[in-house]
C-alpha cells in the first residue's frame, strides 16, 4: 500500500528533485504519474503526404527513469535523432524579439498479446518503441515495461486507440543520460516520419495525469505547403491561439533544410504557430489539420467519435440547401397565414 502526502506537491517535487525530462505532445509518466508541467515545443511539417514530427526530451538533471506515450496518426516509416537546431530556429522565427530559449520538450484479458511491436530503436538515452494495439493492450504493455500510468490513462489511451492504434513509447533513463555526459538543459530531439493523408497533432495527451486546474502550455509549429485549415478553431477562449500565421520566410526554410534529416523541407511553405495555454480540464481536443485548406476531420480533432463520419463538402452544401428551402417555405407559410381572408 503506497501512500503519498499530497499528490500535487509530489508531482512538483518529482519534477524538481528527480530532474524529470520533458517531452512534447506526449504524456510524460514518472514515478507518481505524469509530470509534464513545462511549456513544450513541437514541430510538425507536412509535405508530399508525409508528416515530419520533431520533438525533444530535455535532460533536467537528477536520476531515475521516465517514460512517455505519444499517439501517432499512422505507422512511422522512420524514427531517428532529430536535427540540432530545428526547434530553436522556429522559436527564433516567431519570437525574434526574445532571447532564444532552449526547447522544452512529452478491457480485454491477455491484452498484452494484442500489442504489436512495430519498431524499436535507441536515441541517446531514449529507448523508443512503436506499438500497435488497443488502449487496454498498450496500457498493459506500458505497465509491464515499467511505466506507471496515471488514473486517466485508460480512458485517454482508448480515446486515441479508437482513432489510431499507433503509439510511440519512449523510456528515458536519466542515469544513462548523466553517464553519457549530458548536461542539464541538453535536449534529445526525435524526428518521426509518418506517411499520412493529413497531419495531426495530439494535444489532449498533454493533460495526461494532471488535475483539472493544472496548467497545460505548449507551442506547436506547423509547416505546410499552403495555408492549412485547422480544427478546433484557434479562438483563444478554448486555450488555443494562432500566434503566427504567414508565409514561411526563405531564410527559415533554408535554415531548416540545412539541419540533419530535414532535406525534405520545400522551397515555399506556410508557417503556423499554435499556442496552447489552458488547463487540463479544457484540453479535450487534438489538432486536426487539412493541409489543402479545406475541412479538417472532426473525428481527428476529438470533437466526434469515430464512426461519426465527417460530412463532405457536398453533404454540407445539400444540408445548407435543405435548411434554406425549409426557412423559405416557413417564411411563405407565415405570410400566407398572416394575410387576412
Amino acid at each position: 500500500m503506497r501512500r503519498l502526502p499530497v499528490f500535487l506537491l509530489a508531482l512538483v517535487l518529482a519534477l524538481l528533485s528527480l530532474g524529470a525530462p520533458a517531452f512534447a505532445c506526449g504524456g510524460l509518466i514518472g514515478p507518481n504519474g505524469a509530470v509534464n508541467l513545462l511549456r513544450t515545443t513541437t514541430f510538425v511539417g507536412y509535405h508530399d503526404g508525409v508528416e515530419h514530427y520533431v520533438t525533444a526530451f530535455q535532460f533536467a538533471g537528477g536520476g531515475g527513469k521516465f517514460g512517455s506515450l505519444t499517439p501517432l496518426p499512422g505507422v512511422p516509416s522512420n524514427v531517428e535523432r532529430g536535427g540540432a537546431w530545428t526547434l530553436q530556429r522556429l522559436v527564433r522565427e516567431t519570437q525574434p524579439q526574445k532571447a532564444v530559449a532552449a526547447p522544452v520538450p512529452l478491457a480485454t484479458r491477455n491484452a498484452l498479446s494484442d500489442v504489436q511491436v512495430l519498431l524499436e530503436t535507441k536515441i541517446d538515452a531514449l529507448d523508443i518503441t512503436v506499438l500497435k494495439g488497443g488502449g487496454a493492450a498498450v496500457g498493459e504493455w506500458a505497465t509491464a515495461h515499467g511505466f506507471r500510468l496515471p488514473a486517466d490513462a485508460p480512458e485517454v489511451l482508448d480515446f486515441y486507440a479508437e482513432r489510431s492504434p499507433i503509439f510511440l513509447a519512449a523510456a528515458f533513463d536519466a542515469d544513462a543520460a548523466a553517464a553519457r555526459g549530458q548536461r542539464i538543459g541538453d535536449g534529445t530531439p526525435v524526428h518521426i516520419t509518418i506517411p499520412t493523408a493529413n497531419p495531426w497533432v495530439p494535444l489532449r495527451i498533454l493533460a495526461l495525469g494532471k488535475q483539472a486546474n493544472d496548467p497545460v502550455q505548449a507551442d506547436v509549429y506547423l509547416l505546410t505547403d499552403r495555408r492549412p485549415a485547422l480544427l478546433p478553431l484557434a479562438r483563444g477562449a478554448n486555450g488555443l491561439t494562432l500566434a503566427y500565421d504567414r508565409t514561411a520566410s526563405k531564410s527559415l526554410l533554408d535554415d531548416l533544410r540545412s539541419d540533419a534529416g530535414m532535406t525534405w523541407v520545400p522551397g515555399t511553405g506556410w508557417l503556423s504557430q499554435l499556442r496552447i495555454d489552458t488547463t487540463a480540464a479544457t484540453l479535450s481536443y487534438d489538432l486536426a489539420v487539412d493541409a489543402q485548406g479545406r475541412s479538417p476531420s472532426r473525428v481527428a480533432a476529438g470533437l466526434d467519435r469515430p464512426g461519426a463520419a465527417d460530412p463532405t463538402a457536398l453533404e454540407l452544401t445539400l444540408l445548407a440547401a435543405v435548411a434554406g428551402a425549409f426557412i423559405l417555405v416557413a417564411f411563405r407559410e407565415q405570410n400566407r397565414i398572416s394575410v387576412p381572408a
Binding site: M1, R2, R3, L4, P5, F7, A10, N32, G33, A107, T108, R109, A111, G135, A136, A137, V138, G139, E140, A142, T143, L149, P150, A151, D152, A153, P154, E155, L157, D158, G209, Q211
Partner: protein, 127 residues
Amino acid sequence: MRRALCLLLFVAVAGGCAPAPRTVTIGIHYSHYSISEVEVPAGVPVTFTIRNDDPIDHEWMVGDMAMHERHRLGTEAVHASRPDEVTIPALSTRTTTLTFPVPVTLEYMCHLPGHEQYGMVGVLVAK
C-alpha cells in the same frame, strides 16, 4: 485503536448456521467504480467481487474517514493484505468477504496517487 475498529467492524464468518452471504459485484472502468453507492445488510457476510477492466492497478479500500486519512497522509505502514483493503491488479478480479456487525456508513476508494482525486470514491451503507 485500529485493531479494535477492525474487530468491531469485520467479523469472520462463523459456522454453518450463518445466513448465505450476499454478493456485490463492483466493476472498475476508466478509473471509476461502476457503483458509487452500495447498500448491504448489517450482520451478515457480504462477498464483494471487484473486477478491474483497466490496464492499470486499482484498490478497493473500505473504511471510515480516519482510516482513509491515514492512507492519504501516508502514515499507514505497509502491511499484508486485509479483507477491507484490496488491491486489484490490471485486468483482473479479486473477491473479499466482509461482515458489518452494526449499521454503519463507510467510504470505499482507491488510494493510488491521483485516483481518489480522479473520482474513485464510493459510499457503502450497512443497515
